[in-house]
Symmetry: C2
Subunit: 270 residues, 2 copies
Amino acid sequence: MSDTRPIGIFDSGIGGLTVVHEIFQRLPNESVVYFGDTARVPYGTKSPRVVEQFAKEDIYFLLRQDVKLVVAACHTVSSVALDGLVASMHLPILGVVDPGVKAALEATGNNRVGIIGTRATVHSGTYEAKFRAKNPDVKIFSKACPLFVPLAEEGWLESDVTRMTAEIYLEPIKEEGVDTLILGCTHYPLLKKVIRQVMGESVVIIDSAEETAKQVARRLQLIQMENAAGNPPSHAFYVSDIPHQFQEVGERFLGDRLGNVTRVDLDTVH
Amino acid sequence: MSDTRPIGIFDSGIGGLTVVHEIFQRLPNESVVYFGDTARVPYGTKSPRVVEQFAKEDIYFLLRQDVKLVVAACHTVSSVALDGLVASMHLPILGVVDPGVKAALEATGNNRVGIIGTRATVHSGTYEAKFRAKNPDVKIFSKACPLFVPLAEEGWLESDVTRMTAEIYLEPIKEEGVDTLILGCTHYPLLKKVIRQVMGESVVIIDSAEETAKQVARRLQLIQMENAAGNPPSHAFYVSDIPHQFQEVGERFLGDRLGNVTRVDLDTVH
């Protein structure tokens, strides 16, 4: 059995490229079609109804590219709209929240887990609800880190500014004695080195992008949709707008050359 | 002659509240109606066509509140759409770019002017074009400071993180020997103290919010639309969405209590 169709991945912007990076690492045979809704970023400040509508439009676009599976590489969509999308679409859809929760439950020894993300993600309470459903004994310590996204986009990955910011955000979580920390935002893997330095070596850092790629691999195997063919994969990147420095910032997130980026007019995304 | 109708002020989000703050200082008799399009923020990443369309919708909303004059308290709108708006609307409309340019031209002695703003504002080249039109001898040194907006919204107004960030952004402009610096973003007045420390006492800092309020005062006087009546002003604040911490962040920008904020459904903003 071999399914050569691409994996579809979408995000409100470019953050989801860290998930693409991990999928490239783990599933080198698979083709990828990425859609970043850069014209309507951010989703985090919008209502759940609007987020679900935008996500559907993003998925319809990917469906027209004949994808076999969709990854909602966006914490906002995964937090507030995933159940509705899974129920209404006729193909497998994975989010970025569940893989991190699963990995954290396996990793924690003392049942004290930290979660960092955008204000929208932290205040949605989605992570807390997921943990409560799986293991009510796990105690969650969450912290919104609004400066991490612009620091990652600015490329100040190991700057003193970033280190000092990380100390301010992370010290309160560290003091709670968490043994596991979930990076609950697709931008944060870029800051992993600084976050590791502040949290110390003993804390397990769960990279949602990495865990999502693992889950995609498991799912493709389970439903026998892997691309086992020998032909090389081909990738395509679509965005709804190309802001200044998009190429440079995008390549930092992808960790690779970002070839073949096409702007899709929002009017055609129905 | 006395015109008791309110001044209408709009922005893509809450940054324009710094302009409201200055209007309160300078024109204590005037009532203000503010509209922040928080559901569609930011405008800076959107195309000029879309920005003009959004700005028109914002103005139509203000017109329904019977305003006598409109301030586009948004650098993106003022940069890319103001001429079209002024031409198509039947009331006075002022932006935030021209007042800063005017003040800088009056202030500079050595014709070396620095401009800081968002990536969108800096790369639009609007300031350069305006200076060239008025005085081609003025040399412009501009720098995008993407972290200043989230630092202002986070409230880290005098943090070491902010000081260090300001040094990284501003040193190159300072080294060019500018004697005048325009704060080309409505968020930046909150960081004026740190910006002043980095630039030194000898550089004139032009606060666009302050200069815009001055120009509003001049215009109202010129067209005899001041409110000379004794009745106290009343203010109203409308937003298209109320994100988490809106009240707290908004009050930091306004420098005052933010009473009476009403969410207007985007569907009704036509």
